[in-house]
C-alpha cells in the first residue's frame, strides 16, 4: 500500500511524516490544527518500515515556523518535516530538539511563579534515561515528558 494513495498528495505545503502513531493527536493539537483555514489531511496507523506503524499529517499552503518545529520535536523527536512545492519535496529535515524551550509549555509545578503571574515559561532541555525533561528557569523543577502540557 503506497501512502500517497492513503493520504492525499498536496501541491504546496508541509508534510509531517514518521510520526509515532500514538503521538498524532498531540501533534495536531500543538500545531493548532483547529485554526488552519487550508486543507489538512492526516492518517494514522499507516505501515512504516522503521516503526511498524506511523502517522502522517499534510497541510496545504502552510509552512512551519521554528517554534512549530520545536513543539513537534518535543512531542516526537523522530518526526520528519518535508516542504512540498509543485508536488515535490524541496526540503526535508528531521526535527531537532532545541536546548531551550520558551513560551508554549506549562510548568507542572503548581507553586511556580509562571502559574501565578503573567510570566512566559522558559526551560532548558535535559535528558535522563532516554526521557526528555524541561528544567524551569524559575522554580528549577523538571517537567518530564509525560507531564508536558502545551499552553
Amino acid at each position: 500500500m503506497k501512502e500517497e494513495l492513503t493520504v492525499k498528495a498536496i501541491e504546496n505545503g508541509t508534510v509531517i511524516d514518521h510520526i509515532q502513531a500514538d503521538k498524532l493527536y498531540k501533534i495536531l493539537s500543538i500545531i493548532g490544527i483547529e485554526n488552519f483555514d487550508t486543507p489538512v489531511f492526516f492518517g494514522n496507523n499507516l505501515p512504516s518500515k522503521k516503526y511498524g506503524t506511523k502517522a502522517i499529517i499534510k497541510i496545504a499552503d502552510k509552512y512551519p515556523s521554528d517554534d512549530d518545529a520545536n513543539k513537534i520535536a518535543l512531542i516526537d523527536p523522530k518526526a520528519v518535516i518535508n516542504i512540498i512545492k509543485d508536488f515535490k519535496v524541496v526540503d526535508k529535515r528531521q526535527v531537532q530538539l532545541p536546548e531551550k524551550i520558551e513560551g508554549f509549555v506549562k510548568c507542572f509545578n503548581p507553586k511556580c511563579i509562571t502559574n501565578h503571574e503573567k510570566v512566559s515559561t522558559k526551560f532548558t532541555v535535559v535528558k535522563k534515561d532516554g526521557k526528555i525533561g524541561l528544567k524551569c528557569r524559575y522554580c528549577e523543577k523538571i517537567t518530564w515528558e509525560d507531564n508536558i502540557e502545551i499552553i
Partner: protein, 302 residues
C-alpha cells in the same frame, strides 16, 4: 559580584563563595562599618520569617544602611490585588537593593529579571535560600579551617529539606563524604544521589543516629516536621529517634561541630547547648556577617 543578584546557590562560582567568606571574616572582626550610608535596602517579606528577616535587617543596620519594607503581605498593595510584577517594579525605583522572601517558587528569579536593582533571594517557597547556604559554608569553613575533604552527617528531613539540598550541592565542589541519616520515608531524593554519583562523591544512608556520627566533622541537624507525614503514627515513631543528646557526642571527633539552621524544636536536646561542639547559635551569628558580606559585595562596596 557587583550588581549580580543572588537567587540560587548555583549562580555563584567557587571563587565567589570564597570571596564572600573572606569578606564575612572581615566583618566579623569589625562588624560596624558604615559602608551603606545613603543606601536604602528594601526588605520584602511576602511571608513571615522572623529569623531571616531580623538577620538581614541587622546586617543592613550594622552597615549603616536604612531599611524599608514589610514583614508579611497582608497590609501591602498585593492584598489589594496588585501584581507581584508591579510591586517589584515600583519598589526597585525606591531602593538600591531588594531582599525578598516569597512563598511562590521562582518569584525571586523573575524579580531579578524585571528589577532595576539587584535582588537577594531570602527564600522562594521550597526552592532556594542561598544566603542560608553561604552562612553554613562560612560556619563550616570557620570551624574546620577548610571546606575540602570533610565528612558531613546530614540528619533529619532529607527529603523536603531545602537547606540540606543546597548544602549538598555547594559542598560537592569540595570532595566531601556524606552520611545521610533520616527516617526511611524522608530519605535524600534520588536526583541528589544521582548527582553525587556523577561527581564520584561517596555517601552512606542510615536510619540510626548515634552510631553514625562518630567520625563526622560536621553534624547538620534539621527538623523532622509533623506536617510531612501522612501517617501520624509513623511520625510518633520517628520523632523521638532523631533527637541529638549530649551523651551521643561522647567519642565524636574534637573538631566536630553540630549545626542547625534553626528554629530548633526538640531535635537537639537542650543538654547539648553547653557542649563546646554545639555551634548553632554561633552559626546564626555568622549569618549576620555573611549577609553583610553579600550585601556589600553586590553593592560594589567591597
Amino acid at each position: 559580584m557587583k550588581n549580580k543578584s543572588l537567587i540560587s546557590i548555583n549562580d555563584y562560582t567557587k571563587e565567589e563563595y570564597f570571596r564572600i567568606l573572606e569578606v564575612a571574616a572581615e566583618f566579623e572582626k569589625n562588624p560596624n562599618q558604615k559602608l551603606l550610608d545613603n543606601y536604602v535596602v528594601a526588605s520584602l517579606f511576602f511571608e513571615p520569617s522572623t529569623r531571616t528577616r531580623l538577620s538581614f535587617e541587622t546586617a543592613i543596620q550594622r552597615l549603616g544602611g536604612r531599611v524599608i519594607g514589610f514583614s508579611e503581605a497582608t497590609n501591602t498593595s498585593q492584598a489589594k490585588g496588585e501584581s507581584f510584577n508591579d510591586t517589584i517594579m515600583t519598589i526597585s525605583k525606591y531602593a538600591d537593593l531588594i531582599v525578598m522572601r516569597h512563598p511562590i517558587e521562582g518569584s525571586a528569579r523573575y524579580a531579578s529579571e524585571i528589577s532595576r536593582v539587584p535582588i537577594i533571594n531570602a527564600g522562594d517557597g521550597s526552592n532556594q535560600h542561598p544566603t542560608q547556604c553561604l552562612l553554613d559554608l562560612y560556619s563550616i569553613y570557620k570551624t574546620q579551617g577548610t571546606l575540602e575533604n570533610l565528612k558531613l552527617c546530614l540528619v533529619g528531613d532529607l527529603k523536603y529539606g531545602r537547606t540540606v539540598h543546597s548544602l549538598l550541592m555547594a559542598m560537592s565542589e569540595f570532595n566531601p563524604t556524606f552520611n545521610f541519616i533520616s527516617p526511611s520515608s524522608l530519605r535524600m531524593p534520588q536526583e541528589y544521589k544521582d548527582y553525587l554519583d556523577s561527581k564520584g562523591i561517596k555517601y552512606n544512608e542510615y536510619e540510626e543516629l548515634e552510631p553514625n556520627i562518630k567520625d563526622a566533622d560536621i553534624v547538620y541537624v534539621t527538623r523532622v516536621q509533623r506536617e510531612r507525614f501522612s501517617d501520624l503514627l509513623e511520625y510518633e515513631k520517628v520523632k523521638n529517634v532523631y533527637v541529638l543528646k549530649n551523651k551521643m557526642l561522647d567519642g565524636t571527633k574534637d573538631n566536630m561541630r553540630v549545626l542547625h539552621p534553626l528554629p530548633r524544636v526538640n531535635e537537639i536536646d537542650v543538654d547539648v547547648d553547653a557542649n563546646p561542639k554545639a555551634y548553632y547559635f554561633e552559626q546564626a551569628e555568622n549569618g549576620v556577617y555573611t549577609r553583610m558580606a553579600i550585601i556589600a559585595l553586590i553593592l560594589g562596596l567591597k
